[in-house]
């Protein structure tokens, strides 16, 4: 009895891999087959279980428990979480400093997205030209992407030093004094954006470059025959065809900025005041500095929902858009 149902299940699974012989050649053969298949199932479980266990414990369980924590009040040190309903969310939405933090997050994210798309595409177009030395520049541009954010941020902290930094060296010939960058509430966000863009720009450019090199040659020849100028070709052919890449850049930039810790930690620590405190930094601050697990969890849930919406949007958009080939 169990054999037959399991067998059918096995067959559906087998069909999807395209492997496996038909199992309808007599009882003995099918029993032998079933034994082999059971061994295969066991091996499958054995092979995926370490990974599954880690992902379940450290990726999925947190989502569930974090959702519960967001409905509680708890200092993370002693006692147990106490249920308070939606109070944490209400507190967040009614606090004006939290509105400022949301605005910071939006500013940071939008600046990085727009900067990455425009500058990344511009640099990619440059890299797409047959210029001597472009290989070295390409390597140099990509390198910051794989260096630790803490290291990049520390380097920029020195660059931004008003007295001894590189910005003074650059600005001095123009008779302009360097701003106080990270110590000035008006400049700190700009400093963070510059450093963050610098770290990621090469990556975006390489992604765009790969997109450019994948574009069909024929279209450009046809456009040339039609007498289309460079700008028209770029606007009417290159940009639309690159839209899936642009969307990828958009989504990865948003996801990246929403999870940014290291550069904020080193450059500004969220300051001065709250000037560079984003949603992600706020989660860390509330959880590990203020020991307020409930508020931190609520802010994290908010962030999670926003990211889910963004990712969902990408899946829909890309599915619709990518079929031109």
């Amino acid at each position: 009895m169990t054999t037959t149902t399991a067998d059918r299940q096995g067959q559906t699974a087998g069909a999807s891999t395209g492997g496996g012989a038909p199992t309808t050649r007599g009882r003995r053969r099918s029993r032998h087959h079933w034994r082999r298949r059971r061994k295969e199932y066991a091996l499958f479980l054995l092979m995926i279980s370490p990974n599954l266990l880690i992902i379940g414990t450290f990726d999925y369980w947190p989502v569930i428990y974090n959702a519960w924590l967001s409905l509680t009040r708890w200092n993370m040190l002693s006692g147990a979480p106490r249920y308070v309903g939606l109070q944490n969310y209400e507190n967040l939405f009614s606090s004006s400093s939290f509105h400022g933090i949301l605005l910071n997050t939006l500013t940071f994210s939008a600046a990085i997205v727009i900067g990455s798309v425009i500058l990344g595409l511009a640099v990619a177009l440059l890299f797409d030209q047959k210029l001597r030395g472009r290989g070295i520049v390409r390597t140099a541009a990509f390198a910051p992407h794989i260096v630790s954010g803490a290291a990049v941020a520390t380097l920029w902290l020195f660059i931004f030093d008003p007295a001894y930094g590189l910005t003074r060296v650059v600005l001095d010939p123009f008779g302009v004094a360097s701003p106080r960058w990270v110590n000035d509430a008006d400049w700190a966000m700009i400093a963070l954006i510059i450093a963050y863009l610098w770290k990621g720009l090469g990556f975006v450019a390489i992604v765009y470059l790969a997109g450019l090199q994948n574009l069909p040659e024929e279209l450009y020849e046809a456009a040339k025959l039609d007498g289309a100028g460079t700008w028209t070709t770029f606007r009417r052919i290159t940009l639309p065809l690159l839209s899936p890449v642009t969307f990828f850049v958009l989504v990865t930039s948003i996801i990246g900025t929403f999870q940014a810790y290291d550069m904020i930690a080193v450059l500004t620590g969220g300051g001065p005041g709250d000037a560079t405190t984003t949603l992600s930094w706020y989660v860390y601050q509330q959880g590990f500095r203020a020991s307020d697990a409930g508020t931190a969890a609520a802010a994290a849930m908010l962030l999670f929902v926003i990211l889910l919406l963004v990712t969902g949007l990408q899946t829909r958009f890309v599915q619709r858009k990518v079929h031109y080939t």
Partner: protein
């Protein structure tokens, strides 16, 4: 003709500008680290500092960089190895073994990519503390040792392998472990290298998790150690701080120069052939 030449000049000017934008700060980093102690406070700066290593000695004295290096090496080697093994075993199972609804299980695992680190931070801290792993290598490594993106890349790669080679080995009576080890993995070598290197870079650069899961200076990894050095030195000794930054950045820069193709392919892979 002149228009074409002008265009060319402008393009080269653009390339030089981009080159300066990226090489400039990097040169600033290395030249500052190699300056003599007092030279860093000169304006205008000295552009060719020579080879002085006092800053490195200063950094090493101000913070236990030896410990940081050992910790980073252990965490990176351990974490990346487990990640790679996990990615390999899971990908092989999903491609070559039968199991009811395995594609559903695959999608469920893939869904973990959507969980941002912010959501896992607090709960993982609680979990690790319940396991008694705070301030230990286990606590540093295990929560990051699962592999989703690497598993995905490897699975896609294994799906493109010629099926008849594996089939032939199976007909010869080879078991799955032998097929995996002797037939499939050798064919997957380029992708294994890519997945392995990305895992190394991820583990080495990881910041927020090592920051919260360790609480003594001796257990810090390099990126956190750099933060410690800076707060210890104040904003005063930029030379030593730049030397510390070089120690954090240089290993990954070298790795990048050695394996540029694998790294770019792995990191940009999701973009074009989505």
């Amino acid at each position: 003709m002149t228009a074409a030449r002008l265009r060319r000049v402008l393009l080269y000017a653009g390339l030089v500008a981009v080159g300066l934008l990226f090489i400039g700060p990097m040169y600033w980093l290395f030249s500052s680290a190699l300056k003599e102690s007092g030279d860093i406070y000169q304006f205008p700066p000295r552009w060719l500092p020579g080879w002085h290593f006092e800053n490195f000695a200063d950094a090493w004295r101000a913070a236990p960089f030896g410990d940081f290096f050992v910790n980073s090496l252990i965490v990176t080697a351990g974490g990346a190895t487990i990640k790679l093994v996990n990615a390999t075993l899971t990908a092989y199972a999903f491609v070559f073994l039968r199991f009811p609804y395995k594609n559903v299980i695959f999608l469920v695992m893939l869904g973990a990519l959507m969980v941002p680190n912010n959501v896992t931070l607090i709960v993982n801290y609680i979990t690790v503390s319940n396991l008694g792993w705070i301030n230990t290598y286990l606590g540093l490594i295990v929560p990051s040792a699962g592999s989703v993106f690497g598993m995905f890349l490897l699975r896609q790669y294994m799906l493109t392998l010629p099926g008849d080679v594996v089939e032939a080995a199976r007909v010869d009576g080879a078991g799955h472990l032998r097929i995996m080890w002797q037939v499939v993995l050798p064919m997957c070598k380029p992708m294994l290298v890519t997945v392995g290197i990305i895992a190394v870079v991820d583990m080495w650069n990881d910041f927020i998790w090592p920051l919260i899961v360790t609480n003594t200076v001796e257990m810090r990894t390099l990126p956190i150690g750099l933060l410690y050095l800076r707060s210890n030195e104040g904003y005063a000794n930029w030379g030593a701080i730049m030397a510390g930054t070089v120690m954090v950045a240089l290993p990954m820069l070298i790795l990048f120069l050695l394996a540029q193709r694998q790294i770019t392919r792995g990191l940009t892979g999701g973009a074009v052939k989505g």
